[in-house]
Symmetry: C2
Subunit: 358 residues, 2 copies
DNA sequence: CAGAATGACTGAAGCGCTTCAGAATGTCCA
DNA sequence: TGGACATTCTGAAGCGCTTCAGTCATTCTG
């Protein structure tokens, strides 16, 4: 129709074509009750004919100061983050919760300091930020505050003004430890999530582990060690190994280290299901029977826990609820409401087939 | 300092505070060479003092007509999509490729027609769209075209004007089938990815399967069936089952159906590693030895294939390269360059331990 | 039938930034 | 010493849209 590659039509073009004001065209899209149905049809028809696909999202955002996006901040690269199925479940629940309001997710992968780079956060087009288990002191958190963005944190210490959802990491960990104690185990090993130690992977002193910049790691560790201590097992006698990666494959090297210690632990407390599965895979390679010679407990109860071989004893947390609540909190903050009291979801032990008597 | 909750400072506020023009402050952030180092420092100091965190991303986008985001469109919900590890790997490679240019990823999950809803696409703040294995005819694709957004498609039929990267699905599938034929198998089963049939999951006629709206599904199917046909096995004699879900857990019910057929196939051609793992899990439950009584071949060679028990024979495609190339293509299109010729990555059989003589 | 109420549309002021064509000043070399 | 050039900064025109206070008819109401 047109002679050459023209610029995209704007609202003004449509207004001119129909012979109405720009405000009317805007209303045709945003407030149908503000004009007659007849005129609205004319407008929409003209728009279609001109190839106008609706208000430019960026211009609309500027005028409304709403982008319609939620920034989701991760502590690591996408492949690292998504190698944990718990994230997929949580993220999907969050997306589902905010979808009816038309919010999209802007993914901000982590850099080197346990969160996305500050400049990425400052440049992100989002109305609200959700932090998923970032390290304490990650610069992304400062950037969010400086920008004045509402913030929801998941599994992190409470930030002033932010909304929070998390689970009872400490209680869940304690339950796992108690279960193994009840089965008569006395030689334990703890397979820890990453702590941002350097170099990563390998044995950790209890002190280093307690200084982890990740809140959930600290909490779970405390739950394990306190419970063992109550049973007379000194923290110094419990080897703690930091995972070399959070995927099954990535964690296997460090699982080897933990299982080749002498004396070998008879029971492993793992800070995620993936770590537990890695430990089981390594045990198999070493010819160890699970749970005959080694008991293993995971954490999260993500989908793979149920169909692993053998099915994994683990600490269940409601990942769907966690994501959904985070999404609802984000919407509330967007609505201008204040952050409610933090939500702490329960964590309960699910006994399957990877634990047995010592 | 200020008496009340003030509006956020703008570039003008900083300009006024320093006593320079707005353009100068803008230059301080975007073109440091346009002003003296001394003045620039003054500006930045004043900005910090006022709590100005840099140019408002939305306003900047409007002025530059660049959002700095890439829309990543999926055919399904996030949890469904991410239950396939191949996606994580590809997405991460893409993110890594575009990260140096500061691009973020806007995730658009799928709705009901094999892609994101059109209105979500029209409202998305992104400069370029990447379609990851959407169904043919998904309305999201039309929306992208109408908006005039540059498009990169992954594993899909070529769209005019779009850039494309994919793998040799047909050749890879053919290699898998040939391998099993060479091992002497004659009774096959095909475990297919979803085809958007209704109801989903269960046996599919060859004709229905060939009509799948997913390009990679069609290609792989053709690769399997043509190769078997060359060996004298009629397509009509090969049961095709559509997976009830793409995660291991989700696919297990339909795997049951496929493995309980009489006569039972001795070899399974699976359109993804996850489907293969689901089939193996079900075989185990049925007391079938893999590969003793059942040979299984996957597709993708995603990370879990390597450490599954037993390690999975599968068709390897370079997922990292796929993601990286998609990212590079996106950047090229952003740069105004034309879409180059489509890239077809090789797919080669990796023989591990889930296949054996019939 | 005057006045109030309703419905349909418009004018214009922003939203906060980038950018480009100058203006103003200073520097350099012939 | 005077014109050519750099260097540094500014004015103003957008980018495309939303929204609010009106304006102008038309329809109720008592």
């Amino acid at each position: 129709m047109s002679t050459t590659r023209r610029r995209r039509p704007t609202l003004d073009d449509v207004a001119e074509a129909v012979g109405v004001s720009r405000a009317t065209v805007s209303n045709a899209y945003n407030r149908p009750d503000q004009l007659s149905a007849h005129l609205r049809e004319d407008v929409l028809r003209a728009a279609k004919q001109l190839g106008y696909t609706g208000p430019n999202p960026t211009a609309r955002s500027l005028a409304t100061s709403r982008t319609g996006a939620i920034a989701f901040m991760l502590d690591a690269s996408l492949s690292a983050a998504f190698s944990d199925p718990a994230l997929s479940v949580t993220l999907d629940a969050l997306a589902t919760a905010v979808d009816p309001d038309g919010h999209a997710l802007l993914l901000l992968p982590g850099g080197d300091d346990g969160g996305p780079r500050a400049d990425r956060v400052l440049a992100a087009q989002a109305d609200v930020a959700v932090a998923y288990s970032l390290a304490d002191g990650a610069s992304a958190l400062t950037a969010v505050r400086d920008r004045g963005l509402p913030l929801v944190v998941i599994d992190q210490p409470l930030v002033p003004g932010a909304a929070r959802v998390g689970c009872d990491d400490r209680g869940g960990a304690a339950a796992a430890a108690r279960h193994l104690l009840d089965l008569g185990h006395r030689r334990f090993g703890i397979f820890s999530a990453q702590c941002l130690s350097a170099p990563r992977g390998g044995e950790l002193s209890a002190r280093n582990a307690a200084d982890s910049r990740y809140n959930d790691t600290r909490e779970r560790l405390t739950g394990y060690l306190d419970t063992l201590a109550e049973a007379g097992i000194s923290p110094g006698d419990v080897p703690i190994w930091e995972a070399s990666g959070m995927s099954v494959q990535g964690a296997m090297p460090s699982a080897f280290g933990l299982l080749e210690r002498d004396p070998r632990p008879t029971a492993l407390l793992c800070m995620s299901d993936q770590l537990a599965l890695a430990a089981i895979a390594v045990a198999r390679q070493l010819g160890l029977d699970v749970p005959g010679q080694l008991s293993v407990v995971g954490f999260d109860d993500a989908p793979p826990a149920r169909w692993s071989e053998p099915p994994l004893t683990t600490v269940r947390q409601d990942l769907v609820a966690k994501g959904r609540i985070a999404g609802e909190l984000a919407l509330q903050l967007l609505d201008g409401r204040r952050a409610p009291e933090p939500t702490r979801l329960p964590a309960e032990l699910v006994i399957r087939a990877t634990t047995a008597r010592a």
